[in-house]
């Protein structure tokens, strides 16, 4: 009895205390700056509607989704969906694929962009430099659909450039769609291709920020261009490189759905080798598959991603807080 009384006594004051301490200033701020809050309103509503409210669907990871019963009405099944996702072997396969592809893509595409930026920085021809920078940025500009058209154009068995080239050289034509292992490299190449110009912009900006006195001093000391790159340029942009790598590591469990979907397409033979979490999720959604398991896969990905990115951000903060995400 006493306990209850104490609780009763506590709650209201606690609540009003919280109100007075937290809600009230926000409320008065909203009154004072009504127009500013009104200007925020459309964006807040959009994000609420398309990002926060759909989060409620996460509960489906623990339910057996039935269309007729809806999200709320579908029965709970505990961790069944997760069990299914991992015991079928799918979970491990798509996770490994996602990590391996992202790691390989990260290394190749960043390395290529870095080399491009360094070379562009040292090259003499101003005009040539500008042209190459524009041209290398072009792939970013086109949609993945067009990249899909390129892939078709180059690799298709009957009319593809590759096979006609092979035949002209006296080889037998090959059907790459029956060779899953080749697609690891094809995806890597197209990924580097699409992002080379875009990524190099970041490095070029970092290189531009290097104090030109360093280079002048090196010139006077008789350093050659390789030494300058090795001793000045690369060490100076090391923080940028490290942060970019770390930020990409933070996204290591997110597959680039558009890229995988457009390059691999609906070639079932390639799924084992090229399925990442995102394409798996899409396919089981599109085929009307097990929504519960699909949601389990998504939740597993989102939670791990969140943990990784928070960890990575803490690391970035230590290295260079300017580059920290939050």
């Amino acid at each position: 009895m006493k306990k209850q009384n104490a609780q009763n006594a506590l709650t209201p004051t606690g609540a009003t205390g919280a109100l007075a301490g937290k809600k009230h200033p926000l409320w008065s701020e909203m009154k004072k700056n009504r127009s500013l809050f009104l200007m925020l309103l459309p964006a807040l509503l959009l994000v609420l509607l398309f990002k926060y409210i759909p989060l409620g669907g996460i509960v489906l990871a623990f339910k057996d989704y039935r269309y007729d019963l809806g999200i709320v009405g579908s029965p709970w099944v505990g961790l069944q969906n997760f069990k299914f996702f991992f015991l079928s072997g799918t979970g491990l396969r798509v996770t490994v694929n996602t990590i391996v592809y992202n790691a390989a893509n990260l290394i190749t595409s960043q390395l290529l962009s870095l080399v491009l930026a360094v070379v562009l920085n040292e090259i003499w021809g101003r005009r040539f430099k500008k042209i190459i920078q524009s041209v290398s940025f072009l792939p970013y500009f086109v949609s993945w659909i067009l990249v899909g058209a390129f892939v078709y154009n180059i690799f298709n068995v009957d009319n593809g450039v590759l096979n006609h080239f092979l035949v002209a050289l006296g080889h037998d034509p090959i059907n790459l769609y029956a060779m899953p292992s080749a697609w690891f490299f094809i995806i890597m190449i197209f990924n580097s291709w699409k992002w080379v110009g875009y990524n190099s912009v970041v490095y070029i900006a970092a290189i531009t920020g290097i104090d030109s006195e360093c280079y002048e001093a090196a010139d006077i000391d008789g350093a050659n261009v390789w030494q300058k790159i090795w001793r000045i340029t690369l060490p100076s942009i090391k923080p940028t490189v490290i942060t970019i790598v770390l930020l990409n590591v933070g996204r290591i469990l997110r597959g680039d759905f558009q890229m995988f979907y457009q390059i691999v397409g609906r070639n079932g033979q390639l799924y084992d080798a090229t399925d990442v979490i995102d394409t798996f999720v899409f396919r089981s959604l599109a085929s009307g598959g097990d929504i519960g398991m699909t949601m389990a896969a998504t939740l597993y990905q989102s939670v791990l991603c969140f943990i990784i990115i928070v960890g990575v951000n803490a690391l970035v903060k230590k290295i260079d807080s300017d580059y920290a995400l939050f």
Binding site: L46, F128, L138, V147, F150, W193, V281, T298
Partner: protein
């Protein structure tokens, strides 16, 4: 000449070697960035028989406009898809830019008390989200937006990355200016539209172009939410044409040509040119804004 350092000779030799290698490397990059486009354009201007015989090549074979004639003989489908793409791009860009600019402006105001908390409210959506399935079920089942243009525009109207870039553009608007305008009795809206927006013009152009490019290149939303052919944007129509033979069959039936006689390879490539052409044509003029946007995003994002 006389002022040159003695070491200059050695340095310039290694520099020469570097320049040669550098030029080769850059030419190679340039070549590979352009070649796929050349392949597509040349295939679209080739005759179907030459392509079937020799495959795709860097230069048109047996120059022919057959594929383009085929597309424009019954231009309804293409014109309609163009209409959808233009409509979605224009409406999406105008609304997206307005909302992004307004939000970024408020969040950039140093006197706005809750700017950090609200910024994080936006930012959090990039850290944790429910993915494709949640959004899909919500939009289809609860918002009932299947086969509506709203589903092509609103889900991607706000991009947090662009919001952050825009915020750093808006930070260039001096607070003293805002305060003196306030003293003169200008309303917050008037300050935004007549002072902040004109000062952030460079940011508006940059972010506007990013948003427009995203809408123009979007096929993902169309794939998820649009099943009516007449509502497909250009990119998705192109995708359908490249990946399936259905479109070919449909075209051949309206054109009264048997599927066998359809210039299907060249037609696919001509469609790719028609769908991508406008974007490529404006590219040289807008490229510098994209570079600027990426640079700012890299530093401040």
């Amino acid at each position: 000449m006389s002022k040159k350092h003695p070491n200059r000779i050695r340095a310039s030799n290694s520099m020469k070697l570097f320049q040669v290698l550098g030029y080769l490397f850059l030419l190679l990059i340039g070549f590979f960035c352009l070649v796929p486009f050349l392949l597509i354009v040349s295939a679209s201007f080739s005759s179907e028989t030459a392509i079937t015989r020799n495959g795709f090549s860097l230069f048109p074979q047996e120059f022919s406009l057959e594929a383009y004639k085929m597309i424009f003989r019954f231009p309804d489908a293409v014109v309609q898809a163009y209409g959808v793409s233009i409509f979605v791009t224009v409406v999406g860009t105008v609304l997206g830019l307005l909302v992004t600019a307004m939000t970024a402006y408020v969040l950039s105001r140093p006197d706005f008390k809750y700017r950090n908390q609200i910024s994080f409210f936006f930012y959090f959506t990039t850290l944790f989200n429910g993915g494709m399935v949640c959004t899909y079920i919500f939009i289809i089942r609860y918002l009932q937006l299947k086969n509506s243009y709203a589903s092509l525009i609103f889900p991607t109207l706000i991009d947090v990355f662009y919001l952050l870039i825009m915020r750093s553009f808006m930070k260039a608007v001096p607070i003293s200016l805002i305060e003196s305008a306030k003293l003169d009795g200008a309303s917050e809206y008037r300050i935004f539209f007549q002072i902040a927006l004109p000062l952030a013009k460079a940011g508006l152009v940059t972010i506007g172009l990013f948003i427009a490019l995203n809408y123009w290149n979007d096929w993902y939303n169309a794939m998820l939410y649009i099943s009516k052919r007449s509502m497909w944007p250009l990119q998705y129509m192109l995708y359908d044409m490249i990946s399936s033979t259905q479109m070919m069959a449909q075209l051949s039936s309206v054109a009264n040509v048997s599927v066998m006689n359809m210039p299907s390879q060249t037609l696919r490539m001509a469609m790719a040119v028609v769908a991508t052409g406008p974007a490529i044509l404006v590219y040289p003029f807008v490229q510098k804004y994209f570079v600027k946007g990426v640079t700012i995003g890299a530093v401040k994002g």
